[in-house]
């Protein structure tokens, strides 16, 4: 079921809220059971048989968790069950997500005619697989405790995060499930959650879906794109992806909040990032956290131990040498981002996307480690000049970061590396400027209108506060970010008053009208 569908908004959500309120009259277990049941119903709505796969995954992993917990004193046994469960999880994920694409890739590469149809990818399989793997790893390492089966089921399947994240961590969720102080609907949470959901719905339906047809048409053009069309495609997709994922994240966090559950923040104005490290702390934040904890850090730790065994240093100073930097930063970073690329899909373009970001991050870390220290401020420079210089530097950094992100997104969006390279060549004018070229059937001013609409959208992206900043008074997410406090305009701070009710009502109506042909979220495919 899609969040942006009439079925969800007018049927599922009201039933889930009413059922939650009724269950709250009984006890905490009833609430957890109801939310778990509703979440399974939510998943089954898409394709009922696949809920069996989800349930099977939960049952197998929970059994593994029980076995690990029972053997936590016997490290080898606990490790055996953990590794076994991870292998099963990855095998299932590999079958559904990678097996046939890889088979077809090699079939084509080796010149065979055979082509196998892809199997249907179960929605959210990556998300519920990785959530469970993290739990098992932490359980084996003694940093998690065994939960009851219904709490575990809800932790994995809670519908606001089930399909496309955020990737939850048990340490954040389980205490909330255990909290028995207050149950039932809380008006402050319903008001904040509903408002956040509507803001996200507006981003998705009114903004992201608006750019989708043109972007799809441009990326479907057979043959090279001239510069103007290539820029339209690339900038349009940057906006589509931004508002799509941002809208989804807002909806997911808002929905959870309606049930008085806080999710971790997943999206925080990434295009305002001043460098690529900053970008990944704002874009798909929970994925960054996940791959840092469960891929990057273990690899870095393993390398550190190997270096120590060889009597090599692992200090910051050692990291600043070319050899130390290559082994302790560059290799783990490229490896991790390569994995992150593959996580996004089976295709060389996704690997290229990941590796490209790995290179960006490596360069960024190298710059931080190796750059010369800034010169002391000149006394001749006044405060105004200094501020101007700082602002200009910030704008330059934001634009440079955005350009790097744009280039990687071309690989992310393209059907193949070949197409990505062609689009990139188009961006720099290899296929001509194409000032008068447009899509077939497009009126002459359409391209200009499209650029104007993109300018408005970029103004929203860069100059307006994001939704968690607007809702900052009510601490909408689990944690505050450093950027939450940047918001200074009190006029744009959300308050439960008539003005905001009118504004969000208009957004809600606009979105409801646009819902007649609901589209999926881009991150659903991952």
């Amino acid at each position: 079921m899609l969040f942006n569908s009439y079925d969800f908004i007018f049927l599922f959500l009201p039933i889930a809220l009413i059922g939650y309120q009724i269950a709250a009259a009984f006890n905490r277990k009833a609430v957890i059971a109801w939310l778990g049941l509703a979440s399974l119903g939510f998943y089954a709505w898409w394709r009922p048989p696949f809920v069996l796969l989800l349930l099977l995954s939960i049952v197998i992993n929970y059994c593994a968790a029980v076995l690990i917990a029972r053997n936590v004193d016997k490290a080898a046994r606990a490790r055996f069950w953990m590794v076994g469960a991870i292998v099963v999880n990855l095998a299932v994920l590999g079958y559904f997500k990678y097996f046939f694409p890889v088979l077809n890739f090699w079939s084509a590469a080796l010149g065979f005619q055979a082509h196998w149809s892809d199997v249907i990818l179960p929605l959210g399989i990556s998300f519920f697989t990785f959530t469970q793997i993290a739990y098992l790893v932490d359980l084996q390492q003694g940093t998690a405790q065994l939960e009851g089966p219904f709490s575990y089921l809800l932790f994995v399947s809670f519908f606001p995060h089930l399909i496309a994240g955020p990737i939850l961590h048990h340490r954040e969720m389980m205490p909330q499930f255990r909290d028995d102080d207050r149950r039932g609907l809380v008006w402050s949470d319903v008001a904040v959650g509903l408002s956040w959901f509507i803001m996200g719905l507006g981003k998705k339906v009114i903004l992201a879906d608006h750019f989708a047809p043109t972007v799809n048409a441009l990326y479907s053009v057979s043959g090279p794109l001239p510069a103007v069309m290539a820029w339209r495609a690339v900038l349009g997709y940057a906006l589509q992806l931004y508002f799509d994922f941002s809208g989804y994240s807002d909806m997911a966090l808002g929905l959870a909040r309606m049930f008085s559950i806080d999710f971790p923040l997943n999206f925080s104005s990434p295009y305002k990032a001043t460098n690529v490290i900053d970008f990944w702390q704002r874009w798909h934040i929970t994925l960054t956290r996940y791959i840092t904890s469960y891929v990057f850090s273990p690899v870095q730790l393993w390398i550190g131990r190997r270096r120590l065994a060889k009597s090599k240093k692992i200090s910051r100073k050692a990291m600043s040498t070319p050899e130390g930097f290559a082994s302790m930063v560059a290799f783990p970073m490229l490896f991790t981002m390569g994995i992150a690329g593959i996580w996004h899909g089976a295709g060389l373009q996704y690997v290229a996307f990941g590796v490209l970001h790995g290179v960006y991050l490596t360069v960024n870390h190298a710059w931080r480690l190796l750059r010369p220290k800034p010169a002391p401020k000149s006394s001749a420079q006044g405060p105004a000049a200094g501020r101007l210089r700082r602002n200009a530097t910030t704008v330059g950094c934001v634009l440079l970061t955005f350009l790097c992100v744009l280039i990687a997104q071309v690989f992310f969006r393209s059907d193949s590396c070949h197409q990505a390279v062609s689009v990139l060549a188009g961006l720099v004018g290899f296929h001509g400027l194409g000032l008068r070229t447009g899509l077939p059937g497009e009126s002459s001013g359409e391209a200009a209108h499209q650029f104007a609409r993109m300018a408005v959208a970029f103004a929203i992206v860069w100059f307006l506060p994001n939704t968690q900043q607007i809702l900052a008074r009510f601490k909408p997410a689990l944690e505050r970010t450093p950027w939450d406090t940047e918001h200074g305009n009190r006029f744009l701070l959300w308050s439960p008053n008539i003005r905001w009710a009118l504004v969000l009502s208009a957004v809600f109506l606009g979105a409801l009208v646009g819902l007649k042909d609901p589209s999926t979220f881009l991150y659903f495919q991952f």
Binding site: Q176, S260, R473, P496, L504
Partner: protein, 240 residues
């Protein structure tokens, strides 16, 4: 379950009453404005006041129940302007009805008119789905001649497990619309076939929206045919 709420209440000076009122007004505004048009269009004389040239025609789709036609045409304005049910009735010798829709009305009403008709009429022998080649998608007018040149045609969904042909083929945004048809057709009867057409003929017709004047009788380029039962004359032989 209230880790969030305790913090939010602390952060906020707003009373629960104020928050409750806010939620009420938000939903009330939305519901009122959302429902107003539905009330408005039900007012007597709306069709006359609205100034729409299409209102009466679209209304006809919903008011033509119990026509008990043998052939039902359902499509966008290409069908509306391109098919004359009187001519078709005369040439086929079968009672034909055209349920008018337009490209703008279909995304709103979906297949409601067809469902309404079938719920209150005898099952037709043939349902013709007749859509312009851009398939309700304006950005899809790249090359009309190639629009349906998809080999094999993308099969969208299963129809009936018992059906001999079993699948209907459609492409483009029509996919969002057509999947509703099978269940509806299954309700009409237990033994109908679905036949896929590639629509090459329609590609040419679609260049000129109002091709009715010089169009063939109709059947060139129909999008898909739900053959509901009983023997029908061959469609191809009926092209003039």
């Amino acid at each position: 379950m209230a880790a969030a709420s305790s913090t939010s209440v602390l952060d906020s000076a707003d009373s629960p009453e104020q928050l409750r009122r806010y939620v009420f007004w938000l939903l009330a505004f939305t519901a009122t404005i959302w429902l107003l048009p539905f009330i408005f269009v039900r007012l007597p004389g709306f069709l006359r006041w609205s100034g729409s040239n299409y209102g009466s025609m679209l209304e006809y789709s919903f008011a033509s129940s119990n026509a008990n036609a043998d052939v039902v045409i359902f499509g966008d304005s290409s069908a509306l302007f391109g098919i004359d049910p009187l001519q078709m009735s005369a040439k086929l010798g079968l009672k034909t009805i055209n349920l008018p829709n337009t490209m703008s009305s279909l995304p709103v009403t979906d297949d409601m008119a067809l469902r309404q008709y079938l719920a209150h009429s005898a099952p037709p022998r043939l349902i013709v789905f007749y859509f312009a080649p851009w398939n309700l998608n304006f950005s899809n007018i790249d090359d009309p001649d190639k629009l349906f040149d998809v080999s094999p045609p993308p099969c969208a969904f299963s129809i009936c497990p018992t059906s001999s042909k079993g699948r209907v083929c459609a492409d483009g945004p029509a996919l969002t619309f057509l999947p509703r048809i099978p269940e509806l057709a299954c309700r009409v009867n237990g033994h109908r076939d679905i036949e896929a057409r590639d629509g090459h003929g329609l590609a040419g017709q679609g260049r000129h929206h109002g091709a009715g004047d010089d169009a063939d009788l109709l059947v060139a380029g129909i999008h898909g045919i739900a053959h509901v039962g009983g023997a029908l004359p061959s469609t191809s032989s009926r092209r003039s």
